[in-house]
């Protein structure tokens, strides 16, 4: 128990320290975890052993990850992806395996061993790829879907691999079928037809259970209003499905994915997501740490060049095969490169498969150790490779601003405006400006967004807008205006601040999160800001007034009056920004003013309203008196 607690302290401690540092350095969380793992691993600080138990526990993170992804995938989407999964994914496994095997044969391995190595190394790391893509905001959309399709097929391919690999044995198997993990199912002693039947039965059980049992179960639990039981039930489903799948020899991750897809249409989807999410994060982190801890430092130190060659060779080969295939399947160059970079590493399946192949007498133990190390290192290098890819993409953009020949008429010459961030906010602003004939250059870190914009001939740069070199490449020195429309509060302030320092005369407009953020931005040099929800909320309020019986013009005037008051109080409170107490007091005062105004609204005596104009009561009174007087005369 003690040692368990202490181990937990080391794992959590390492994660808590190294991940935020890695994030701050721009390395991403995956690399942070991996580094943490290497540091506390048996070959460095040796705080934790290379425990298989922890590894298995941690692998459950991948299972949960796939379950969550399954929840996002409607069955119909899966059907639409069949070409990606079986065509693209299948081609990836076959071609990569053959290419790797070919190189292995050239390097002097017997063909059977070479083929086994090829098949093992064709696998990529689901956890690393998806987590990295997630962090880059690439998981949704074409790049993410293509990568996911390949990973899904690899998961499927593992099943026949356990059957096929022993056939490639060159020496007598030592412990065949006993290599733990996915191969060792309860069914191995059954005849093949029974195994296949049990697989189908298990899948049917998951689909049927998901359809007809889970909903009533959850409804029953939901009525008990016990949050933790709901979480427990959600975990139970994932663990249950995973064990069932393992029993019939399917990949637990695949089973979890299937369960996720089945539940994607249920009304409990969101709740399942929120409940399971924290487990995913922690367990995946643990998984990355164990991968890091598994990196065999002495072996690397012993054969650094061999390993370096292996890793670089493997990643280059996988990258090239993937790039070629993606292009063949019609992906644009940039997207193809992104997918290929993401999938260029070896995967966690390789660890299991290598152990299995050693047992089956297909691959020798020393070679397996070398390959395991190479796979681990390639996994660790993936986040770096993605960063490299981003840098190259950004550099290409910088070097050749108009990469696409179909750059439209709008974008000739220097841009008038640089728009940083082209999400929900920047798009609208940007479209308005473009529609009015201004040339803009957009900076965004969402590749799909960029591809789309490029197709419409817009000038787009890929990358983090807070980087000055990128801004310069985008032409900020000659632009008249910078519009910061990022949806990250801190980055917005950071960008406004650095841009203001570098370009004192540039007009800087910024999207503000709220009032405080707005003051912050103004204090850091923004010329004007707009609170991102203010106008739309006001607009909805106007509609509400109309639906409540106001005539449209009255509702419009009420909103105008409100806007003026709010902006005025915004300006009045500005000098107090920074003095917390004064600000709170004054804003309370502003709230009181608003209250008064609201009360006045009701009594229709509001001086600021145009109620005094148009058929005024006092005028009516005067006219009536006059008419009476005239009648009397």
């Amino acid at each position: 128990m003690d040692s368990f607690l202490i181990q937990t302290v080391f794992y959590l401690g390492a994660a808590v320290i190294s991940v935020p540092i890695a994030k701050r350095l721009g390395l991403g969380s995956v690399l942070g975890y991996l580094i943490a793992g290497v540091l506390i691993g048996p070959h460095a600080l040796s705080l934790v052993g290379a425990e298989g138990d922890v590894m298995k526990f941690a692998e459950f993170g991948v299972v949960i990850l796939l379950f969550l992804i399954g929840l996002e995938v409607q069955p119909s989407t899966l059907w639409e992806m069949r070409r990606t999964i079986f065509g693209f994914g299948g081609a990836q496994v076959v071609v990569t395996a053959l290419a790797v095997a070919g190189v292995a044969v050239v390097l002097g391995l017997p063909w059977q061993t070479a083929l086994a190595v090829g098949l093992v190394l064709a696998m990529s790391s689901t956890a690393i790829v998806l987590q990295t893509l997630d962090e880059k905001g690439l998981r949704q959309g074409p790049v993410g879907r293509a990568a996911f399709g390949v990973l899904l097929l690899q998961d499927l391919a593992v099943i026949p691999l356990f059957a096929l690999l022993p056939l490639l044995a060159t020496v007598a198997p030592t412990t065949a079928g006993e290599a733990g993990g996915h191969g060792a199912s309860l069914m191995t002693h059954l005849p093949i037809w029974a195994q296949i039947a049990s697989v189908f039965a298990a899948v049917a059980a998951v689909v049927g259970g998901g359809r007809y049992l889970v909903r009533p179960l959850f409804r029953f639990i939901a009525e008990s209003r016990l949050r933790e039981i709901f979480t427990a039930a959600a975990l139970l489903i994932v663990v249950g499905v995973a064990s069932l799948m393992q029993m019939v020899g399917l990949s637990p991750a695949l089973g979890a994915f299937l369960a996720g897809v089945v539940l994607a249409e249920s009304e409990f989807r969101r709740e399942l997501e929120t409940d399971i999410e924290p487990f995913r994060g922690l367990l995946l982190g643990l998984f990355f740490i164990t991968v890091g801890a598994g990196v065999d430092l002495p072996l690397i130190a012993h054969k650094p060049l061999t390993l370096l060659g292996l890793v670089l060779g493997l990643m280059t080969l996988k990258f090239l095969v993937m790039l070629g295939l993606a292009r063949l399947f019609g992906a644009p160059m940039r997207g193809a490169a992104a997918v290929a970079t993401a999938l260029a590493q070896g995967g966690e399946f390789a660890f299991v498969l290598l152990t299995f192949t050693v047992g089956a007498g297909v691959i020798g133990a020393p070679l397996a150790a070398l390959l395991t190390a190479a796979v681990a290192v390639s996994m660790a290098l993936t986040p770096l490779a993605m960063m490299l890819y981003e840098r190259i993409a950004a550099a290409l953009d910088a070097a050749v601003p108009d990469v696409t020949p179909d750059t439209g008429a709008f974008d000739e010459g220097e841009p008038d405006i640089i728009i940083a961030g082209f999400g929900r906010f920047g798009q609208i602003t940007g479209r308005l400006l473009t529609a009015n004939g201004f040339r803009s250059t957009v900076l965004d870190s969402d590749i799909e967004q960029i591809d789309l914009l490029r197709r419409f001939g817009r000038r787009v740069h890929y990358g983090d807008a807070t980087r000055m070199d990128l801004l310069r490449a985008a032409g900020i020195e000659r632009a008249r205006m910078l519009i910061v429309a990022l949806d990250d509060r801190e980055k917005t302030v950071e960008l406004v601040e650095t841009a203001r320092k570098a370009f004192p005369d540039l007009v800087i407009l910024a999207r503000a999160w709220d009032r405080r953020h707005a003051y912050d931005l103004l204090a850091n040099g923004a010329d004007a800001v707009e609170r991102e929800t203010f106008e739309s909320a006001l607009s909805l309020g106007t509609t509400a007034l109309q639906k409540l019986g106001f005539r449209a013009h009255r509702a419009h005037r009420a909103a105008s009056f409100f806007r003026r008051h709010d902006r005025r109080s915004f300006e009045e409170l500005r000098p107090m920004w920074g003095q917390e107490e004064a600000y709170i007091l004054a804003s309370r005062d502003a709230a009181k003013t608003m209250e008064r105004l609201l009360a006045a609204d009701l009594s229709r005596l509001r001086p600021g309203d145009a109620g005094g104009a148009w058929d005024t009561a006092s005028l009516e009174q005067e006219l009536r008196e006059r008419a009476e007087k005239e009648g009397a005369e």
Binding site: S560, R564, R567, E571, P607, G608, A610, G612, S618, E622
Partner: protein
């Protein structure tokens, strides 16, 4: 943010000219730009660009009334649209020149002030005659404003009209701008006259 940009020299209390410009597309009007530019430079003139200040027609009544009170001469500069003022200037009159403020019982805020109208027209001077195609004179078309001044107890100044504004060449416009500047200067109290 709705505080009004006061681009002219700050006028001392109850003195000087409040020049209210109303042109919805000033960027296309050479004549009104030239006139406004000429008048803006005068000290004692408070310049107010209505369409720039209230693009959404949400006129701030209190601010506008305060500005009216603070000046002796109210000058309205606008292009004649359909023989009348542009919509926002009419809205401004509707919303700001209220019963009880500008006229009616207790409405004495504008008493004794002068109302000066500067107007540009597209058609030439000949059109504004009984026999011209607009059939009425400028004086006739401006009667509503003249009566507005009368009802508010204001002095009606002879309007300043630039006919055929769109077809005038730069030199002619420059001459008109000079004439305008002189005219507004003459409305200012002697000590601030240029």
């Amino acid at each position: 943010m709705t505080t009004l940009p006061n681009t002219g020299a700050a006028a001392p209390a109850t003195s000087g000219v409040l020049l209210v410009l109303a042109h919805p597309a000033l960027e296309r009007s050479r004549a009104n730009r030239a006139l406004a530019k000429a008048a803006k430079g005068l000290s004692g003139v408070t310049f107010r660009d209505l369409y720039e200040t209230y693009p959404d027609f949400a006129i701030d009544i209190e601010t506008e009334q305060a500005a009216l009170v603070a000046h002796d001469v109210i000058a309205l500069q606008f292009p004649l649209y359909w023989y009348s003022t542009p919509a926002l200037l009419k809205e401004w009159l509707d919303l700001v020149w209220l019963h009880g403020f500008a006229y009616g019982p207790g409405g004495e805020a504008l008493q004794g002030k002068r109302l000066f109208v500067a107007c540009t027209t597209g058609a030439g001077a000949k059109a504004y005659h009984a026999h011209g195609y607009n059939r009425f004179t400028m004086d006739e078309f401006l009667r509503p404003l003249e009566q507005t001044a009368h009802l508010c107890g204001m002095v009606w100044e002879t309007p300043f009209v630039v006919h055929g504004a769109a077809v005038k060449d730069d030199a002619a416009l420059k001459a008109e701008a000079e004439r305008y500047r002189a005219r507004i200067g003459s409305l200012l109290p002697a000590e601030t006259e240029v």
